[in-house]
């Protein structure tokens, strides 16, 4: 009996084991095929996180650039390094943009084309942990680009490589079609990536995913719009005042010698764009933010909100009867920070006895410091090669109650002023180009500053003063651009405001923005 029972038990066990084995084999086979597919989801997530990390590296660099765009700011440029002439990695010597730029300028070489390129400075091994709890590493390189001889018109090239770890089990890509897209480093880091792993080599273990983002950064320039304000904008109240544009560089879009061709000329252009940063209060989201007062604006009119999307009217503009409705926008905002006078270089005293100011080459402008007020002045003709440049820093007011200001050809004058600007009813830079006379109103530390003109004043200049209030009365004719806290034109007669499109590429940067975004997918 004992023997017979034992035989029965053995058969049942064998049967059960066989059944289990068959099921297990089937499950194992399928799991073996399915698991890699799900691991691919994890790999793809790491690939996405590498891009986000690279873009965050670009953001870090852009933040430092923008914070220092208009002058030195504390606690920026932390952690940036460079390779010195002996090949040794050292911290960037200065915490200021000016000095960083000076440093970059010192090592500038000619790249063989029209753009001068500096040696790079870099951020090394920014560490992070991705949302998937994978170690991530970012290296960022920054080059300054100088497309023109001017040290102020500078672009930047930023390149960031981010590497994010993959799950350790991922030692092969499971689908042949994945490889060309993701380009993982499974056992060893691809040699091509080494040149972007600057400074100390990264420590993210393989397998990992690397992505490289490169951007070209352009300066946001102060005179890209005809009129830009931070708080209020009111156009001429005469009813026949006009905002239009021309291009002093183009004979087909300007009058003789690049001057404004006249209100009724067919050469007049329609890029007299105006904008106001101010927003509406929270309890009245829709309503006027620009008072057009029935003026004609040959260009776009933009505000920061105020236009009710539920209606066909443009509530954000009051008195818009003569404005092209298709050119009204309400999605505008541009940060305006006061310009800061250049901090480096030798400062000359103002010329004595009414002698003219003397310029230097635009790559190294002559700099003057006027401790009090600046009145009408003259500038000696430029006799050097290329263009001459001159910077006058005024601690007091710029007040031209008599005489005039005339800028000779091929020369640019930048005035940094801490006090008020008053042109009275004078003719300023008549016959010249607006870009030749750039006036920057500096930080007022809470004080009230104004730019004023009245009567039949005719002014050809560009003004940037985010804390200045602009008041024009009577028949003031302004050719150029104005960026201020507020703008008000009382009266205006049949005159107007004529934007010179050539101003779009001149002036000291007030911020930086991405002009070109690429991903290096072949490295």
């Amino acid at each position: 009996m004992h023997t017979r029972h034992a035989r029965c038990h053995a058969s049942a066990l064998i049967l059960a084991l066989a059944a289990l084995a068959i099921l297990s084999l089937a499950a194992a086979y399928t799991l073996r095929r399915v698991t890699p597919r799900f691991q691919m989801a994890s790999q793809a997530a790491a690939w996405q996180e590498a891009r986000l990390a690279a873009e965050s590296g670009i953001d870090v660099a852009l933040a430092d650039l923008s914070r220092n765009a208009t002058g030195t700011q504390a606690n920026t440029w932390q952690g940036w390094q460079q390779t010195d002439s002996h090949g040794k990695i050292v911290p960037v010597l200065s915490g200021t943009l000016d000095l960083v730029n000076s440093l970059l300028s010192l090592v500038t070489g000619n790249s063989g084309n029209t753009v001068r390129i500096s040696a790079p400075i870099f951020l090394d091994n920014l560490q992070g942990v991705s949302p998937g709890n994978r170690p991530t590493n970012v290296d960022v390189q920054l080059w300054a680009l100088y497309p023109t001889p001017s040290p102020y018109y500078r672009w930047y090239r930023l390149r960031a490589m981010a590497t994010c770890a993959l799950p350790p089990t991922a030692t092969s890509t499971f689908d042949a079609f994945e490889a060309p897209l993701r380009r993982f480093s499974l056992r060893n880091v691809r040699p091509q990536l080494m040149k972007d792993d600057v400074g100390t080599p990264m420590t993210v273990p393989t397998p990992n995913a690397s992505r490289v983002i490169e951007v070209l950064v352009e300066p946001v320039l102060p005179f890209e719009l005809a009129i830009l304000t931070d708080q209020s904008l009111s156009l001429g109240t005469s009813g026949s005042w006009v905002v239009d544009s021309f291009d002093s560089r183009d004979p087909n879009k300007s009058g003789a010698n690049g001057t404004y061709p006249g209100k009724d000329s067919p050469l007049v252009q329609s890029n007299g764009n105006i904008a106001n940063n101010a927003g509406r209060p929270g309890n009245a989201l829709y309503g006027p933010l620009i008072s057009a007062n029935g003026c004609v604006v040959h260009g776009s009119v933009a505000t920061n909100g105020g236009d009710d999307p539920a209606t066909t009217e443009h509530e954000n503009i009051a008195g818009a009867t003569r404005i092209d409705a298709s050119k009204v926008r309400d999605d505008f905002y541009r940060e305006m920070k006061p310009a800061t006078r250049p901090a480096s270089g030798i400062l000359l005293p103002p010329p004595l006895l009414g002698l003219p100011y003397t310029a230097d080459d635009e790559s190294q402008p002559a700099k003057y410091l006027v401790p009090g007020d600046l009145h009408a002045f003259s500038v000696a003709p430029w006799t050097g090669k290329g263009n001459g440049a001159l910077i006058i820093m005024v601690n007091g007011n710029l007040d031209v109650s008599a005489g005039t200001i005339t800028i000779p050809p091929d020369m640019t004058v930048q005035i940094y002023v801490r006090g008020n600007v008053d042109f009275h009813n004078r003719q300023i830079n008549q016959g010249g180009r607006a870009g030749q006379l750039q006036i920057y109103g500096e930080e007022t530390n809470g004080g009230t500053r104004t730019l004023r003109a009245y009567g039949d004043a005719g002014i050809t200049a560009a003004f940037y003063g985010p804390q200045y209030d602009v008041h024009f009365t009577d028949g003031v004719e302004w050719t150029g651009a104005v960026a201020a806290r507020s703008f008000e034109m009382l009266g205006g007669g049949t005159g107007g405001f004529h934007y010179d499109e050539a101003l779009g590429v001149v002036g000291a940067p007030i911020a930086f923005r991405i002009a070109r975004y690429v991903e290096d997918v072949r490295e």
Binding site: A26, T30, R37, A44, G112, V115, F177, P180, R516, Y517
Partner: protein
């Protein structure tokens, strides 16, 4: 005592009961095994299709993100494209998506040694971009198309850039790619749906990505 211990044959009833029980057990095993196989196969199919969708979505998103133009075309080489803004397009039946990328590489021929070399930055009209000498290089069109591929023997989603054709998804008959651009043309949504051939027109897996174009559109 010895006679009692000798092996004795099963009775017919015992045999019938034994066979019936065995049949039930084996049947249950077979049934569950087939069910398990079906389920696991479906799981594998799901995972496979999902990874195909993700790859298509990621590749298209990557290119759109860095593009300077998005258009649709019905020509083989992508010429005569119609700018896509404020509209949606499904990439089917000869309709291609043409994405224009900014120039960045010295060559677009994979066999060329300069294929992975970037262009220099050059300035023209006070504007800095990639190019040679003093001229900016022309933009590069990239075409996404669903077409029959001879050497794969099936309908595939392909990406064409210069002389290079990349197969993104094979057996793409049941994948449907739709691109929708916002009215201002600055952002868009990409949607890839997998429709099961066994479930009529029912979408089994839907994947979607929203993309903000990083460059200004120049088209």
């Amino acid at each position: 005592m010895k006679r009692n211990l000798a092996p004795r044959a099963f009775t017919l009833a015992e045999l019938m009961i034994g066979m019936a029980t065995s049949s039930i057990i084996v049947g249950a095993l077979l049934f569950s095994s087939v069910g398990l196989q079906k389920s696991l196969h479906a799981s594998e199919s799901y995972a496979s299709n999902q990874s195909d969708q993700r790859r298509l979505l990621d590749c298209l998103s990557r290119d759109m993100r860095r593009s300077i133009g998005v258009a649709t075309a019905t020509t083989v080489n992508g010429s005569g494209g119609v700018r896509l803004a404020g509209a949606a397009v499904t990439i089917e039946e000869g309709t291609s998506l043409v994405i224009t990328l900014p120039a960045y590489y010295q060559s677009n021929t994979p066999a060329d040694a300069k294929y992975d070399q970037s262009l220099a930055v050059v300035a023209a009209d006070n504007y800095v971009d990639y190019g040679t000498g003093t001229e900016h290089a022309p933009a590069v069109p990239v075409i996404f198309r669903k077409q029959y591929v001879e050497n794969q023997g099936c309908v595939c989603f392909v990406r064409l850039e210069g002389d290079a054709q990349t197969i993104l998804v094979t057996h793409a008959e049941n994948f449907h790619l739709t691109v929708t651009m916002a009215p201002d043309g600055r952002s868009g949504a990409v949607e890839v749906n997998f429709v099961s051939p066994r479930h009529g027109s029912e979408t089994l897996i839907a994947m979607r990505d929203e993309i903000l174009l990083r460059n200004n559109r120049l088209d």
